[in-house]
């Protein structure tokens, strides 16, 4: 086996790719078509689909929509997938009671009824949610979708031992004590033993929450709440061929190779207010060479990147130069940041944390992330712009995008003094070895901190093992990881869907921990408590803002950027728009083709 070679040569490979890219941009790509502006048959224009709909009228029925990708979904099982792009894509073959609105930008994060006739009737002190199902909703074999199918689909979340990997919000909210053992261990005859959900008839489903949660409907909008028919549940292998409730069904799927969806003839447009289902066929081809994939996108062989994580540097350069009209530059919903575990000295002292925040050169960190376009705006706080309650760069407590853009040495020294370390200190940055950009930011941070007297070592750990390495607080303490470089995006667009695992004391876990800062703040916990009880959107936003402020004031985080991507959209695509419902990705399910 020659595997060691590949990893050992990654740097060389990158260098070689860069050389090739340089050759390419000079030699290849015959005739840069002038598609900067919007035109009927050409590209819609730069940022034309960012938070707005591009070429909606040009969408026609039929054709094959071709996705390319460098990374397959973690699972296509609606219960098990956790990748944003997978949730987005799953809407092709799965429907939910409610779902994200098929509209661009912030509107896309709102909830709209899907299988249900309307959003929930909330009663019983906000603890009971009742839905009525539409008529004409069917499975791919033509049988109607019943409330029991929905209940069974949701129950599958409880079978974490078999169906691991997906989000467990519903389980935590509906059964916080973990009394139900999941449908596979369910002793009741119909396997519908979960008490919190009632199905009085096939058209009605009732959720009884032990405690109110204002984001409950957001959670139901996630694909993990999709119906699954018990007789079609192949358990751990369900992701290889999910049984469709949406407009498309699986024709073939080979993991890490390809996926083909074809029309589900039993789906009725009339029963579905969300999905336009323009193309006849949807294919996904998986690549191992990201540069090759980008080239093929640019060449027009494929329509878009399913991963929606932006073009690789080479492809980006070419595309920005010659095909700017095919690009969108949305905010991804991710924040890239450094976090300071309080368990590692001297970061138990907030002044030492703030010293790092002040000492960092935010502009060079942004550059390391890819600059303002490919990397994103300088992050000034910890709430992504796509989450309600966010203020974006307007809230900048440490003036990171302002006066202290290049770092404030004096202020940093002041904080060091306050921390009792006037001459600085030594610590270690933990960074994933499989993310070159993160390594670059670590190096940038290292350089700027040196100026204020903070010496840091960079420890590149196995990125595939992050949950075991930095997800273990005892390991973090042992290794002395004072600074951890990470990124986080919302599971659903709310402060709960984003910040709960990061900031709530309950989420300090022995392994798989994400509260790296080890924040155990009664105020923050309390604000989350208030949030879940508040149904009013305006007030929810207010609480979200407040949580964000509290987190920032504690100096636990050094945000780098509000991440942005440069995503490719082919000339063939119509009705394209990004949605905050899926962190700035295009809304896959309503993409159409022009011809």
């Amino acid at each position: 086996m020659t595997t060691q070679r590949t990893t050992g040569r990654r740097k060389q490979a990158v260098a070689a790719a860069a050389v090739v890219a340089a050759l390419l941009s000079t030699a290849a790509c015959g005739g840069g078509n002038d598609d900067d502006g919007g035109s009927k048959n050409g590209a819609a224009g730069y940022d034309a689909a960012n938070n707005k709909v591009a070429q909606a009228s040009l969408a026609k029925k039929g054709g094959t929509l071709k996705f390319a990708g460098a990374q397959d979904a973690d699972s296509w099982d609606t219960t098990r997938g956790y990748y944003g792009m997978a949730w987005n894509f799953m809407r092709y073959y799965s429907r939910q009671l409610v779902t994200n609105k098929p509209e661009p930008g912030a509107k896309g994060a709102e909830i709209t009824p899907d299988l249900a006739t309307s959003t929930a009737k909330i009663t019983n002190n906000d603890k009971t949610y009742t839905y009525t199902l539409r008529d004409g909703i069917t499975w791919e074999d033509g049988k109607p979708i019943t409330s029991k199918d929905i209940k069974y689909g949701i129950e599958r979340v409880w079978a974490q031992d078999v169906l691991s990997g997906g989000p467990v919000y519903l389980k935590d909210v509906l059964d916080p004590k973990g009394e139900y053992k999941g449908p596979y261990k369910d002793t009741s005859k119909d396997k519908l033993g979960l008490k919190a959900i009632e199905t009085p008839d096939d058209k009605t489903i009732v959720f009884n929450l032990p405690a109110a949660n204002s984001d409950f409907e957001e959670m139901l909008a996630m694909t993990s709440a999709s119906p699954v028919r018990q007789d079609k549940d192949t358990k751990s292998k369900y992701g290889l061929k999910p049984f469709s409730s949406g407009p498309y069904k699986f024709q073939s799927y080979t993991p890490n190779k390809s996926l083909t969806l074809v029309r589900n003839e039993n789906w009725k447009q009339s029963s579905d207010p969300v999905r336009k289902a323009y193309p006849d066929k949807i294919t996904l081809t998986l690549f191992t060479n990201a540069n090759d994939m980008d080239q093929r996108l640019i060449n027009g062989d494929y329509d878009l990147d399913i991963n929606q994580t932006g073009l690789s540097p080479q492809g980006r350069t070419t595309a920005l130069k010659e095909h700017k009209g095919n690009l969108d530059n949305p905010v991804s919903g991710y924040i890239r940041y450094a976090v300071f575990p309080q368990t590692v000295k001297p970061f138990d002292n907030e002044h030492c944390r703030k010293a790092v925040i002040y000492g960092a050169d935010h502009e060079s960190l942004q550059t390391a992330r890819g600059g303002p376009v490919a990397g994103g705006d300088i992050g000034t706080n910890m709430l992504p712009p796509s989450v309600p309650g966010s203020e974006g760069q307007k809230y900048d407590p440490y003036e990171m995008a302002g006066a202290n853009k290049k770092g404030n040495v004096a202020k940093a020294k002041e904080e060091l003094k306050a921390c009792g370390k006037p001459n600085g200190f030594k610590t270690t940055i933990a960074v994933r070895n499989n993310k070159p950009v993160e390594v670059a930011t670590a190096e940038s941070l290292q350089a700027s901190l040196k100026k204020v007297g903070i010496t840091v070592d960079i420890d590149q750990y196995d990125g595939a093992q992050s949950s075991g390495i930095i997800g273990s607080p005892s390991n973090v303490k042992k290794k002395g990881y004072g600074i951890i470089i990470m990124g986080w995006g919302p599971d659903f667009p709310s402060v709960q869907g984003y910040g709960l695992p990061l900031w709530h004391s309950k989420y300090i876990l022995e392994s798989g921990n994400n509260n790296f800062a080890m924040i155990d703040d009664k105020t923050i916990d309390g604000l989350f408590g208030d949030y879940v009880k508040e149904l009013d959107d305006a007030k929810k936003e207010q609480i979200a803002t407040e949580i964000n402020h509290k987190v920032m004031e504690g100096g636990y985080y050094l945000p780098f950027v509000f991440e942005k991507f440069i995503n490719w959209r082919s000339n063939r695509l119509a009705n394209v728009y990004t949605t905050d419902g899926y962190s700035g990705q295009y809304d896959f399910v309503n993409l159409g083709l022009k011809k």
């Binding site: 590949t6 070689a16 090739v20 090759d292 499989n434």
Partner: protein
């Protein structure tokens, strides 16, 4: 890795009849089986023990963002990770012959008879993955081998015969380039020029059963790129052995008989010069069949190499183990074939 062949000079020739060959084959296959067992043990040790020493639980790699301790335990149970290593190894061997059943949390997964393990990452038995991907790699390796043998050997022979000429020098410079340029460089470059730039070839993998033309067209660039690297090596080794062989006494004898030069080269020199080429071919084909990782990655060919690369980044042990076994098997078989061919080419080699 492989027991070397023995050369004898003098003495009567052993009865290398079919029985002797059969006995030899059986012996070699037995040795191969022993080797495979050892390889399995080693891979097991690497992927099961090393993470343990490093304080990492493989089970956590199979659960999601919000690790549920129950889920971790269930995965551990399902994968049999809690068992002592020898039990795991035994289960694996048993699975190869009688198949295996994985059961946990009310979910039962069957893995039919040649069970090379089961990937919980992709919820697939390994054997179908291998059989699905093996033909791609095999086609890549064999196609490239044909090319590099044709061009490499021809260039090497010509260089040797025209030693010191402009042709020789330029051929050897190209060969040096071929040997030293990494495949991702030549691969990306050829993609850039022929596929994206000139648009002559659409270097995309199309399954053979879909369209032969598409498959062939998609394979041309990978073949040529891979063959370029190897042709360079083969040209160099062919040149060196040809030079050596051309200086042999029996070549002089052949000329002294009055043979035409083409016959001297084609019949007398080439046959001897092919021996080291064949050795290399055996090793290279074996290794390539195990996965031409770089080529497959560069051209996004869904072969074994790609599978193993993905499996390594996913820490998907069963896939790694399966591919490792297939690779080892390929190397062993390739060597066996080479050894037998040796005996065909060189009568001095006795199958012992």
């Amino acid at each position: 890795m492989i027991v070397g062949h023995r050369k004898t000079s003098g003495g009567p020739r052993s009865a290398a009849g079919p029985r002797a060959v059969l006995a030899y084959l059986i012996r070699r296959l037995f040795a191969a089986a022993v080797m495979l067992v050892v390889i399995i043990l080693v891979v097991f040790c690497i992927f099961f023990l090393v993470p343990r020493w490093a304080g990492v639980d493989p089970a956590t790699m199979f659960v999601g963002k919000q690790a549920d301790p129950g889920a971790i335990e269930a995965v551990r149970q399902k994968l049999g990770l809690g068992e002592p290593i020898f039990v795991q190894v035994w289960e694996f061997f048993k699975g190869l012959f009688v198949g295996r059943t994985y059961a946990a949390g009310g979910d039962v997964t069957n893995c039919a008879a040649p069970c090379f393990g089961y990937s919980f990452r992709n919820e697939q038995a390994i054997w179908p993955v291998l059989t699905d991907r093996f033909p791609v790699t095999l086609a890549l390796a064999l196609g490239a081998a044909v090319l590099w043998l044709l061009f490499g050997v021809a260039a090497g022979v010509l260089s040797a015969l025209k030693r010191g000429t402009l042709w020789d020098r330029s051929a050897m410079v190209v060969a040096l380039a071929g040997v030293s340029l990494p495949i991702y460089f030549t691969g990306l470059l050829s993609l850039a020029i022929f596929s994206y730039g000139l648009g002559w070839l659409d270097a995309q993998y199309v399954p053979l059963e879909e369209s032969f033309g598409g498959w062939f067209g998609g394979m041309i660039l990978p073949w040529v790129t891979l063959a370029f690297l190897y042709a360079a090596m083969y040209a160099r080794i062919t040149r060196a052995t040809m030079l050596e062989v051309m200086g042999e006494d029996y070549i002089r004898t052949a000329r002294a008989k009055g043979l035409r030069e083409p016959v001297v080269i084609g019949k007398h020199a080439m046959r001897s010069a092919m021996t080291p080429v064949l050795t290399m071919l055996g090793m290279d084909l074996g290794a390539l069949i195990g996965g031409a990782i770089l080529t497959e990655t560069t051209f996004s060919l869904p072969g074994l190499g790609q599978a193993v690369l993905k499996a390594i980044s996913d820490k998907d042990l069963p896939v790694i183990l399966g591919v490792t076994l297939i690779t080892s098997l390929a190397v062993i078989i390739a060597n066996l074939v080479v050894d037998i061919l040796y005996a065909v080419i060189d009568p001095r080699v006795r199958l012992a």
